[in-house]
Symmetry: C2
Subunit: 305 residues, 2 copies
């Protein structure tokens, strides 16, 4: 791999994990970094998320072979503009944003003529901030790379090799398809989870204390997702609007069918759906994308049966 | 505790766990059991889920101080009728069903004049069947007891003491309130999860393989819930129709507001909701109803950071 220096802009959960993963799995690669928040810079320095911390983005990217922007998708354009004065002309610019069409546009507008190869590691936890990062976050997780049509093949190969070195499985696709896939596998699940947790908090008939006590019946799973970073998710929905709205309407159509089945007492329609969905879970476990143990192997079931 | 013999009818995840928990935490109590399926009886016997297995429900309940019906809520009436010939007049009849108004009615209709005290341990995993049971399932989980107005206080106290001995926290409420609380903490989350997993499986624009690969972005959490037992859940929706439809419509109203926020690019409305929902997660973890570790402590993050 000819990438010898990676600059990371934004040192939250993902940026911090990239820094730690490079230092662990590619110890010969130099890491430098910057975060717009001085407090985050201080904490990231203490945690050793990157080898060299800088007070400006332009200083952080100086000399880098690859820059990875790890800021909310709505902040990509400004972050790119801020680092431009320090950027070498041949540096690869990538990111980790959860939507790709508008991010690609924003980067191309801020950095005309540069080598921009957006990417999205499909990994994370509900935690955020520099303390949330860890080196193994990307192990066995997929990273989707969305090279624009004119991206040089050798540069794409470099970026793919980097993610593979961090433990990720890599797939390339175009940005619009990425946004459609992630709308269903990530954005709609988050929107639903945020909404139902909000609904449950506002009920008159059921107290908040009851919702919390009896959450083990399923609700608590949704609260984990609904604890994700608010800024990151606001930006995702603002930036992947069309795919999210299209997928949401498909879901709402299906939900209306289930509502009618419940209203009409149509047990067969319910049973057919509930049987079919089991096999999706089995496939996800079989393909190594989730824990096979019951209840995700939560610690409260780790006491022995 | 004056309960010296518990009969368990239905030996799947919950019935099997009750049997194992009684044998572990109340070793002086006799357990007997029956399941309508001969194959389940055979497997449950091999697993030792109860001390005495019987070929009929009437034989299983003979001499029992307490019978716990652990069958899908739609099967409660028939299961109660089947055991009636063997039932002592003073035996407490309870159950573990996820809806309580219609179950109470079905039990009262099948067993007129008997001491019926329905209950619902809010615990489980996505697995089902006799092999899925384990003795610690109810530790630190809530069990809701819904005594009818005329239930004798001493009998209610006996049932509460049994669940506490199995590790559960117990709360009493009326059946209608239970059904409202569980509609939001369990039934709507399951309905949504089943529906979105169905939606994702049927898309033309996104392949099933892509949905599985990229499920770590949030979708995989929903597939766990959508792998729950189809018969059990069909019966819950058939039996808690009004509370589920009412709560579903509240959720749909809130979801329509979020849809409009996305359509209009109203980031502030999104940010406000996404910030508010974080605190619900913190409360659930603080009250011991979920794992505090990121990502539920899933094993793929247990490799060390």
């Amino acid at each position: 791999m000819s990438i010898g220096h990676v600059a990371i802009i934004g040192l939250g959960l993902i940026g911090g994990s990239v820094g730690l993963a490079i230092q662990r799995f590619l110890p010969g690669v130099v890491t430098s970094g910057h975060d717009a928040d001085p407090d985050v810079r201080r904490r990231a320095t203490e945690l050793g998320l990157v080898a060299q911390m800088h007070d400006t983005a332009a200083e952080a990217v100086a000399g880098a072979d690859l820059v990875i922007l790890c800021v909310p998708v709505g902040a990509m354009g400004a972050a790119a503009a801020a680092m431009l004065p320090g950027l070498r002309p041949d540096t690869i610019i990538s990111d980790v944003g959860g939507s790709k069409v508008t991010v690609t546009q924003a980067l191309q507008a801020a950095l005309p003529g540069r080598c921009i190869i957006p990417a999205h590691p499909v990994a994370g936890t509900e935690n955020s901030g520099p303390e949330a990062g860890f080196a193994t976050l990307f192990q066995q997780r997929w990273c989707i790379v969305t090279p624009p049509a004119d991206a040089p093949a050798d540069k794409v190969a470099e970026l793919v090799a980097l993610w593979e070195a961090l433990g990720a499985l890599v797939e390339c696709m175009d940005a619009a398809h990425h946004d459609m896939v992630l709308a269903v596998t990530s954005h709609i699940p988050h929107l639903i989870a945020y909404t139902i947790v909000g609904t449950a908090s506002d009920l008159e008939q059921v107290t908040r204390s009851e919702v919390i006590k009896f959450s083990a019946g399923g609700f608590r799973d949704f609260t984990r997702i609904a604890a994700s970073d608010p800024t990151m998710w606001r930006d995702v929905f603002l930036n992947n609007r069309d795919a999210v709205l299209g997928m949401l309407d498909t879901f709402l159509t299906d939900l209306a069918l289930m509502r009618e089945a419940i209203r009409a007492g149509d047990g067969q329609t319910m049973f057919d759906l509930f049987t079919r969905t089991r096999s999706v879970r089995r496939s996800i476990v079989a393909f190594g994308q989730d824990d096979a143990r019951p209840d995700f192997g939560r610690s409260d079931h780790g006491k022995g049966g």
